[in-house]
Every structure is written in C-alpha cells, then in structure tokens.
Amino acid sequence: MSFFSINKSFKGGVHPDEHKDLTENSAFEIMPYPTEVILPLSQHIGKPSKVLVKKRDLVKSGQVIAEPDGFISSIIHSPITGKIKDIGKTASVGGRPQEAVTIVAEGEDEIVFMEPLDAESITSEMIIERVKEAGIVGQGGAAFPTYVKLMPPKDKNIECIIINGAECEPYLTRDYRYMVERTKDLIVGIKLIMRALGVKRGIIGIEDNKPEAIRMLKEATIPHPEIKVEVLKTKYPQGAEKMLIKVAVNKEVPPGKLPLDVGVVIQNIRTAISVYDAVVKGEPQFTAALTVSGFGITTPKNLIVRVGTTIQQVLDYCGGTNDDARKVIVGGPMMGVAQYDMSAPVQKATSGLLVLTEPEMKHSQETNCLRCGACVDVCALNLIPKDLAKFSKAGKWDEAEALGVTVCMECGTCSYNCPANIPLVQWIRLGKQRVINIQRSKQNVS
C-alpha cells in the first residue's frame, strides 16, 4: 500500500512489518485500579520533582504529591486513593533503581478534579498555568514538560504547530485510537495549544496507513480551516521531529538546533488530549495510555492505566505472556527500552508495552561489515552509520565527532537495515554519549 504511495515523504527510511492490526480495532479499555502504585519522581526530562508527602499520609486520586524543582520539572499527582507506603529507591524502566513514592490503595477511589475551565474564553496564560498544574508531560517519548514547550523564548517567532499523528513505530496504536475515538476533543485540544502559543496555523501529520483517522479528522477540521490534515507516506522514522517538519512545512532543522529555531513546535496526539482533559474536565495527568502488543502476549489491547501500575500487572491483565516470549519492551520496537524487571512501573509517557517472540524480531548472525551501504542509504539524517559505529567502537572520538555522531537521533533505522546485523546504534549511542561528555568538559575548562 505504502510502497507506491505518492504522499509526502523524506529521503531514506525503512518499512518494518507494522503489526498494527493486532490492536488497531480494539477500543481503549480502562484497566481496573491497582492495589499499589510506584511513582518515580523523574517521569520527565529535567530535574526530579520534590516530594510533598510523608510516609503514612493519606492521599486522594488527583492530589498533588510532588512539585516541580526548577523550571524544567513537573508536578506529580497521586493516581490512586490510599496511603503513602514508602519513599525511596525502586525498580524502574531501563533498570537503574530510582527515587519513587509507593502508595497502597485504601478505601473507595476519590478523585480530586481541578475546576473545569471554559475552552472558548480561556486565555493563553490560563492554559499554560493549567497544563503546568495538571503535570502534563509530552507523550511522544521524551516526556518533556509540556508547559515549558508552550512558553518558547520571546526571540523565537513560532509560526505553526505540528501535531504528530504519524505513530511510525510499528505495533503502537495508541494515538490512532485517540484520533478515532476522541476526534472532536483532539481538535479542541489542538486549538487550546495553538491559543497558548499564539499561533494561527496547526498541522496534523498522519501516515497513510490510517485511512479511518484521516477521514474522520478531515471531516472534523472542516469548520476549522486553521487546522490542516497532512497525509504522510508510511515510512519509519516519519514521526521523528526533523522528518515531520521537513515533510509538513519543508524546513530543515540544522544539526544541534531545535524545532523552535525554525518556528515550529511539535506536540503529540495524546498530549493534545491531555490538554483537553486538563482544561475542559479539570483532570490531571495521572493515567497513561498504552498499546500492549506483540506475539508473546495473550490478548493484545489498548489500555488506559493509572500511572505507577507495574508492568507485571499490565501483562497479567492482558492474559500474561506465552512460552515464546523472548523480549519485553517499554515503548516501540525501534526505539523502546528492553525491560527485565517487571516490577517497574508504567510512567506518564509510556506509550507501549510489547512482548516479542523470536520470529518477529528476525535476528540473524552478526557478520563483518560488508560495506554494502544499506545503512547509509536509509539514514534520514544523511549520516554514515557504518563509520560512526566503527569509530565509536575503536574509541576514536574525534573522528566520530567530525562525522556528526552527536547529530544521530538513535532512530534505529540503520541497525534495522544492516544485513550483517551489526548493532550500529548501540555503538553510535556510546560514541555520542562520550563525545557529548568530552564537549561539556571542554566547555567547563574554558
């Protein structure tokens, strides 16, 4: 379908098996309330939040339990009603133990909502304040505090926002479900974000593998000519910020720069929904929405769960894993994190939980680099992954830096496409980290 598509696209990229059919027609299910939740204090980019509660305090759902520490940080709300059991190190996604608040459920679920606001008359300042109070973090993966993104530096002239509806990671169907289940709310959410930023132009970018969402959004935007639906070719990594901007407004974000620098702010579909919920319903971000999928899980689903529910509980709720399960991934298959500790909690920005089996991963024997150029051909940022990996592996940081190792967005496209099955991104990630550290320490000296 997508191979001969004439829809807009970028240079490079790959077409992994989508497997979206596993969940695309399953409406969101609300997972029942867990008996215990673990709330990491760092569920966002920036400084960890400061705890406001003590052991044995009673809390209600939606009550603030931690406040931002500094400008780039976030409020955290209790996702359940109960008692603070513990504050200390617990398991986390990715494996490193981290500071978290553990809450045990007690009594009936009582939710404290904020006061609903009128979406028509609300001002920019009020929207930003509400987004901050609701503890909303970006839902596209990086979990950047959303209110910060709504307050760009004064010298940046923001012309438009792009809502990322590409959902280019295979398997994931969370954003798709929002687009078809809450189309109208999504439009209101987008308009709220536009008002907060004072921009007159909104673009929703959707890959052409979601015809139903395209149809519904096109219909819903008829009364809103300031919002345009842009149909994109289905290709990974279409949802990467730089690719999306290139395709939607034909601008290239230079290396080391941000979308802001070319006058664009990007927001995710669920972020817009969260903004709607916070403003219109007064609901803080204490749930996560995720696709649970893969051939290793009994019943794939799209779920809404309270933040802090453990991975194990979510897997159990979907009927558990089968004997062929080989890998558990938090996020999508291209950029997600392999997880081994199932007692780690779902966080605000968790978008997927995949249980993969050997045949769907298609791993083969690693061989020498064959200099076939397949990695160069698909890198959307025009890097030479083969050489970046080679220099990083050899510890030649200067060479890696000169070839642009820090520009790499770790999208995984090159590794995916390498017939020699060389873990290119793994090496590049290492090189990138090292080079950034070296650059920092140089700056500190001078």
Binding site: M334, L356, L370, R371, V376, N382, G412
Partner: protein, 321 residues
C-alpha cells in the same frame, strides 16, 4: 527484584534497540544472488553443453575448500555458511570461456579466494572483487586459453567462433543483436545472454540487494560515451548497443561492479563509480589492443572506492551545503 535469576529463568533478551530487524541477512543476500545467477548458469549449459557444469563444480569446490583451509590455518572461525565463497566460485566460473581447463579453473578459484579475499582479512575487507582477481590472474597466466572461444550449440554455420566484440575489432564483422540478446554468440559462460542476466539482475534490484544506481549509471555511461565515439565515425566505430550487450558488460554491471564490498557506499559515489567504469570500458574497447575491458575497468575503479567514499560523503541533514 533486579536479579539475574529472573533473566535466566525467563530467557528474556536485553539487547538494546532497535528490537526488530529486516529479513535480509548476509547469508540470505548471498543465497539470493546465487539464485539470481541460475538463469545464467542455465544459458551456459544450453549454449555450450553439459560439460560446463564441471567448471562450475570445480570453481565452487576449490573456492570453498580454499576458504576453509585458510580459516583453519589461521585458526579463525569458519565462514563457509555465509555463502560468499560459494558465490565467488560461481561468479568466477561464469566469466570463464566455455570448455576451459578444469585445472586452470581450480587455480583461478584458489587465487580468487586466497589473494582476492583472504589476504585482506576475509569477507568485508577486500578491496577488489575476488572473482575478477582470479580472472585477471588467469588472463595473465594463460592468455591463449582465456581467449579460445567455442561456437554455441545452435550456431553451427557461423563463420567464426570469435566473440562479437572480438569479431568486430579484428575482422570488422558485426554480429546479430538479437542473437547477442539471447546469448547465442561466443563469449564467457554466463556473459553471453543479456536476457538471463537481466532476469537475475532485476530480481536483485527488486529485493534491494543490488543498488540500482550502479547498473543504471553504468548503462547510461556506456550509451553516452559509446554514442559520442560512434558519432565521430559510425563506419569505423561500434554502435553503442554493441557496447551494451556485447562482452561482459551487462554481467559486470549487475553482478560484478555491484558487489557490496568492493563498491562505494554513498549514492553519489555509486554514480561516479558506475560512470567511471563505463568510460574506461569504452576507452579500452575503442583504443586498446583488446576487444574487452570490463574486468580491468571494474578492478581499476575498485581501487578508487575508498577515496570516492571519502569525497562523496553526503551533507548532514539541515547542515549548510
């Protein structure tokens, strides 16, 4: 909680992202190229007889044996299963003359692997196309045998058994383009049938194993450079279509120049490489003392690949051009 026992118990993998991979592997790619060469093998047998199968057998057998032996001596892991030694043997056989001596065939296969590949460190490290290294050796060592051509089985009344390019160069005889397309002319085992080569070549391009830029740039190059010379004096010089279907050009374009290891990795580099090969071929064929030139042209351009890669690095996305 975070203990190793759990990992072992559940047999969970933890390698970092990406967690999925394309179907293509080194092994599968080699298998597909071998598959794509079957039409050429078939045309060799149809036009030159069943004896040719022995050449294939010897070439492939000695290639694999040589690689196995060298890996044993060097105490390195055996790499036969990646299929590349098999492929080198097959490719070498396809560019040998019909009824070629089996002893010399074996010698060529040994040189292909030992000098063409293993001396550099094995798969992925060689600079030159190994099969062409083997052929260049045979050409130098046994020039007469390497240019002794046989008539095809269906060509009993042809006046000469020379190759179409040789016939034109030395005797001024133009062969029939239709026969050249089907393969009913003198030439190396797998090189005579344009039809068989195109079937396999297009299959490999469709699978993404052969990068289209190399054969396409070579074809454009040979037509353009060939036409330029031809237009100077259409009587004396060959029609560019002869350049295209004659000799080892198409086989070289789809199966030799496009070899992963010895061709450039950048898009621009592939164009330079392909056009360069065609330019040299036309120069050798028109001004040189030999009717062919594909092998030398590819080997010559192989040597420039590291430099081409260096100077054709693409501009990083968003950076100033």
């Amino acid at each position: 909680m975070t203990d190793l026992k759990q990992i072992i118990n559940t047999k969970l993998e933890l390698a970092s992202s990406p967690h999925v991979h394309t179907k293509l592997s080194t092994e599968r790619a080699m298998q597909m190229v071998i598959l794509a060469l079957l039409p050429c093998v078939l045309s060799a047998v149809i036009y030159f007889g069943i004896y040719q199968l022995l050449i294939f057998l010897v070439s492939i057998g000695i290639s694999m044996g040589t690689e196995y032996g060298i890996k044993r001596i060097r105490k390195q892991a055996n790499t036969l299963s990646d299929g590349s030694a098999f492929l080198t043997g097959l490719l070498l056989a396809l560019i040998l003359p019909p009824n070629f001596s089996l002893v010399f065939t074996g010698l060529g296969a040994f040189v292909s692997i030992a000098i063409g590949k293993e001396i550099f460190g094995g798969i992925g490290y060689n600079i030159f196309n190994p099969a062409l290294v083997g052929r260049a050796f045979l050409q130098a060592a046994f020039p007469v045998q390497m240019t002794t051509w046989t008539k095809t089985s269906f060509n009993v009344d042809a006046v000469t058994s020379a190759t179409p390019l040789g016939g034109f160069k030395f005797d001024g005889i133009a062969a029939d383009l239709g026969s050249m397309f089907l393969g009913n002319t003198g030439g190396s085992l797998g090189e005579t049938s344009a039809l068989a080569i195109l079937i396999g070549g297009i299959f490999l391009i469709a699978l993404g194993i052969v990068n289209w830029r190399i054969p396409v740039s070579m074809i454009i190059g040979i037509l353009v450079f060939g036409s330029l010379i031809w237009m100077i004096n259409p009587e004396a010089y060959m029609n560019p279509l002869y350049h295209l279907v004659g000799g080892g050009f198409l086989f070289g374009a789809f199966f030799m120049a496009s070899d992963w290891v010895s061709s450039p990795i950048t898009a621009k580099g592939m164009w330079i490489f392909g056009l360069g090969i065609s330019l040299i071929i036309v120069i050798i064929r028109v001004f040189g003392g030999i009717p062919e030139g594909v092998m030398y042209a590819i080997l010559f351009m192989n040597a420039w690949v590291p430099l081409i890669n260096r100077y054709t690095q693409p501009t990083i996305f968003g950076a100033k051009k």
